[in-house]
Amino acid sequence: MPKIQIVGRSYPQIDGMEKATGRTRFASDIKLAGMLHARVLRSPYPHARILNIDTSRAKALPGVKAVVTYADTPGIKFGPRSDDWTIFADDKVRFCGDEVAAVAAVDEDTAEEALELIRVEYEELPFVESPLEALKPGAPLVHEDHPGNVAAEFKVEAGDVDRALANSHVVCEESFYTNQTYQAYLEPMGAVADVDLAGRITLYAGNQIPSMIRVPYAKALGLTLDQVRVVLPDYGGGFGAKMETNTHLVAMLLAQKTGRPVRHFNTRHDDFIAGNPRVPMYIDIKLGADKEGVITGKEVKVIGDAGARIVYSQIIVATACYRVDSLYRFKNVRAKGITAYTNTVPTSCFRGFGNTQATFVLESAMDILAHKLGMDPAEMRVKNSIGPDSVSVHGWKINSCGLKECVEEATKMSGWAEKKAKKRPLKGIGLSCCNHVSGNRAFAREFDGGAGIVRIGRDGRISVYHGESDMGQGQKTVYAQIAAETLGVPLDWVSVMQVDTDISPWGFGSFATRGTLMGGNGVLAASKDAFIKLAQVAADMMESNVDDVVCEGGRFYVKGSPDKSLDFKEVALNATDSNHGSPVMGTGFYDPPTVLPDPKTKQGNISPAYPFGCQIAEVEVDPTTGKVTVTNFVAAHDVGRAINPMALEGQIQGGVAQGLGWTLMENMVTNKGKVANANFLDYLIPTALDMPPVEPKLIEPYEPNGPYGAKGIGEPAINPTMSAITNAIYDATGVRITELPVSPEKLLAEMEKLKGSHEG
């Protein structure tokens, strides 16, 4: 076999130049002939009964083509994983921002003007904005058919937790809170919908699940699956948020009503108040260890805030209950999760999917135990680290695992040992580890995997079709590298095609850090299939056996005789001509060795591979203001074999930036049921000036289930960041952070308290 030449090398993203020069047409750039523009009227109240809606004046405004409310919908309840959605509010609104009505007009100005002409009579109802309040007896009910506002419950138990904790040398018992944050992608959610004469809808929408999204949308509109086609343009980021949204359905419904293409994008304000921000969680943990620092048992209780309807919050809470249990060699674990409805914006996926929240909690607790034991926190991690070729407490099969190497490299790079030994006032260093999945069988349900189609044209051009979603993370480049490597051609001979559900394979999409492994394996299988087909033609042309034919740098040759070679394009031409125009088509799929977890015990391997990581933060704390500055950051990640190291490093740096923002400034504030800071002036994310140098390190054990040995990086890049920083703050000040974010005011108050207790 020729040596690997394209996989493992750093390439700028294949669409990077187009994006950098402004040539990329993003979802919001799409303009169709005759297109109308939509705006949504949203509820100003967190909870109110709708007594009457009068749209007559809006309908009479010149330029308005349609005004719709719940009465104009099929009235079918739906939802990605629930049936608590309607396209517009039915009898009552359940959060500030809930969809009440929408307008399609000839331009955005007219649509916005029309909104002001819609008269809605409301009867305000008592509301609940905290999940703790929502679960109390007598709390206002968000959904009458969900008594106690309990949206979902999750339980998992393995081993004997009570005995393990009772027999522990040290136990950490602590309560944590992780707040609501916004994904802050560059392009707000939105879509253009177009309907043909047969009533078939084409939806041009930037979203992470182009195939799956069709299922609830078809149901909501009373259509069959084949009547909803999704085309995936380039789009400006997702970070988990861009899944199902009523924002798309509004465009679809208005396109049906008017027979014209309809464009509907959220304003940034609407995206803040009615997007899918992170699930806030209250997490109580009990974590025990023996004298040597070996973990004995863990118990957690999680209460998560679903907001006013379920997007994916209940699976996110379940994930927070148990995914992190495969980071260490746990034997005794118990968790209970409750997802509660509140009259606030529905919450959902955000990079990390509950494992971020749980990692913050577990890795804070590990730090607490290490200090109680007088043990080096790094040593304690290594001591408990799950190893390669092992099975975790929930039956997860860990093949490759570079966790120990991550800790070793990160500590070496950061000068951990020296810095821990030499205590400097108000300066601190903190460490945190993480694990994650590369695909989540519990989420994909019917089946999991990935598929690809590789087409080789008469001109030798290679087109790769997949069903996942590149939101800027570099998936197209990774797929092009895999196809080019497998076919033995230069990278720029490969095009990665836009996902179009009429053409592309069914893919579950980009979430759960699954794109590289699942989609990559699908592209790999299709590339192998195409290669064999083309190699057969080359073998015939060279009067050789197909098994002896290889391709390298775009030239076929028989093993051992690279001097006598055939141009790949000549072979492609020959292949198409002899098939009277039919291109070489390779198809293939990947069937991961995973199972749906047992509903009762939750036992069962949910992912074909598990990435790991270790991050170390250094901070300085201003004793006068309480302000934290992160001065240095190293991030070592087990990514399996790297396919594109440059893209991986970018993902790691981006994850750290997002985690730093969460830790130090990002916070959606709800006041009297309304998001009080629904704009980028008041909702702060870090700027380039706020970022320390972030030094990534790739740890590359070969993952047998990954394409060319690769695993994923998307979510692990952020999972450990929060606790690395807060553990460093503890090292600098002695203050244990149990709530995010860490405002200077809060930290200063804790530092003062600590000073008082030392002096007193």
Binding site: E108, D109, E112, T267, R268, H269, T624, T625, K627, L664, M665, V669, N671, A676, N677, F680, L681, D682, L684, P686, T687, L689, D690, S743, P744, E745, L748, A749
Partner: protein
């Protein structure tokens, strides 16, 4: 969230601008950088029917000295002031202009715009107060000059009449033995409305130790940027140094009347007024001593 419709005017000179303003009789707004006005219009907080763009008027962009006074054109961009105006800009003002928004915002935002918008924590208003600046307000009837403490009347409210244009900012030219400094506390390093901001100015006696006169200005501590009379009193005649600065910081915190909001409590803001006052006075002293 869309810009409401308006008629756009681009006068060729100040006289023409004043005539237009007069002619529209309160229906017009003056547009300079637009970094506040256009944002407010998008949010529906303002909806003027006429916009008169002053950005092209060269006469508003001049800066120079007249005797002991420094005159800064109201059309000067924050970016130019942050660059120091060839060494003419007092330190606290250059720091304040440099802390405003981001490079893009500083390239648009004007000195006059920052003053007439009159936000309680505006990055150029607070240093100008400490520097003892006054503003020139011109109308068809002539020019009047107003000291800044009398100019700021409330959040977004100033002494500017609807027929007037703020044309120049006047302040004393920095002299040896004087110094100033600016400090801002926020959660991030750019594009940030301060939680608290403070500017300080002081002049030393010939002995290089005794404070002849000082001013401390506070932002986000009241409905308008404000001077701290207590700090000025604590500093005048005192020996420059930690003790005097601590007394001034204490007095400034006592004068501050901050509010509670989701960004911070009044109590924390008050403490931070004290902390920043000390820092700014330290910077001012270092400059006064030529360090």
């Amino acid at each position: 969230m869309l810009l409401p419709s308006f008629t756009y005017h681009r006068p060729g000179g100040l006289a023409e601008a004043l005539a237009m303003l007069d002619g529209f009789g309160g229906q017009a707004k003056l547009l300079a950088g637009g970094t506040d006005l256009l944002v407010n219009m998008k949010h529906g907080k303002q909806a003027p029917a006429q916009l008169i763009d002053l950005d092209g008027l060269a006469e508003l962009k001049a800066s120079g000295s007249r005797g002991d006074a420094l005159e800064l054109g109201a059309g000067l961009k924050a970016a130019a002031i942050a660059g120091g105006l060839g060494g003419a800009a007092p330190q606290a003002l250059a720091q304040g202009a440099g802390a405003l928004g981001s490079p893009q915002v500083r390239n648009r935002a004007s000195l006059g715009g920052n003053l007439v918008t009159a936000r309680p924590a505006a990055d150029m208003c607070v240093p100008l107060l400490a520097l003892g600046a006054r503003v020139a307000l011109v109308s068809p009837a002539g020019e009047r000059q107003v000291d800044l403490p009398e100019f700021f009347l409330g959040p977004g409210l100033t002494a500017l009449h609807p027929s007037e244009v703020l044309t120049r900012v006047l302040l004393a030219k920095p002299r040896p033995g004087e110094g100033s400094g600016y400090g801002k506390l926020g959660l991030r390093k750019a594009l940030e409305i301060p939680l608290v901001n403070v500017a300080a100015w002081l002049a030393l006696e010939a002995d290089g130790k005794t404070i002849k006169e000082a001013r401390v200005a506070l932002g986000a501590a009241a409905p308008t940027p404000m001077l701290s009379p207590g700090a000025a009193k604590a500093l005048a005649g005192a020996t420059a140094g930690d003790d005097a600065f601590a007394a001034a910081a204490f007095a400034a915190a006592a004068d501050a009347r901050p509010i509670d909001d989701h960004r911070g409590s009044a109590e924390y803001r008050r403490d931070m007024v004290a902390a920043l006052t000390k820092r700014c006075l330290g910077q001012a002293l270092a400059q006064a001593r030529g360090n």
